[in-house]
């Protein structure tokens, strides 16, 4: 499944959405969801084996650099590519 997270840290529902993930799933952080990359917070909720990525434009627009995260930063084009492979969504 592809889990789309758009709200930032401390949003209770986003935490719970991420906990639905299982190995092989992808969590895509968009908008303020990119804040979950800070201090690797996302990994506290995403089980091992879950792919994590964030929209690059949303991350950079919030004042961060590519080097501020070890997770993959993706373009909108790559987001569609993910959905071409895994069509079930939680949004």
């Amino acid at each position: 499944m592809v889990i789309i997270v758009k709200y930032g840290l401390y949003h209770e529902i986003e935490k719970r959405k991420m906990e639905f993930a299982e190995p092989g799933d992808t969590i895509v952080l968009i908008q303020n969801g990119v804040f979950w990359l800070l201090n690797n917070e996302v990994r506290k909720f995403a089980p091992e084996g879950v792919n994590v990525c964030a929209l690059k434009d949303d991350f950079l627009a919030r004042g961060y650099k590519e080097s501020d995260t070890s997770e993959k930063l993706i373009s909108y084009d790559e987001f569609i590519e993910i959905l071409e492979k895994d069509r079930k969504t939680i949004g």
């Binding site: 499944m1 209770e12 529902i13 719970r16 959405k17 906990e19 639905f20 299982e22 069509r87 079930k88 969504t89 939680i90 949004g91």
Partner: protein, 117 residues
């Protein structure tokens, strides 16, 4: 047949999303879709016996009950959230199935699309 779960998480008094979640789920019956509704977090207060948005002039939630009955739409409410928000007297007319957080995950993962409203 597509399985679609519509999820409300905001309180029914103060925001329209519980009403919209039910309205959208009921709207799916014209197609080959199996909709269900999940109430989580503050939205579980929607099934409290005395919950009444109309007391402050808002659209009532209870109007959805006759459609739940008509369509047999599965309605789930999360046990841990009912406890968190001290919901004890549940309106039986909402026909909600009380499920644990662990069961929520099973339901979610069984769906094609999960739509948080």
């Amino acid at each position: 047949m597509k399985k679609v779960l519509f999820v409300a998480y905001q309180a029914p008094v103060g925001a329209i999303w519980v009403n919209e979640t039910f309205r959208t789920a009921f709207g799916m019956y014209g197609e080959d879709i199996e909709p269900a509704v999940l109430l989580m977090d503050e939205a579980v207060t929607a099934i409290a016996e005395r919950n009444a948005p109309e007391r402050v002039g808002l659209l009532p939630v209870k109007i959805v009950k006759k459609y739940i009955e008509k369509y047999g739409t599965p309605v789930y409410a999360v046990k841990e959230d009912l406890e968190k928000f001290h919901v004890k007297d549940i309106d039986a007319g909402c026909k909600a199935q009380i499920i644990s957080e662990a069961d929520v995950k099973k339901i979610v993962r069984d769906c094609d699309f999960v739509i948080f409203m």
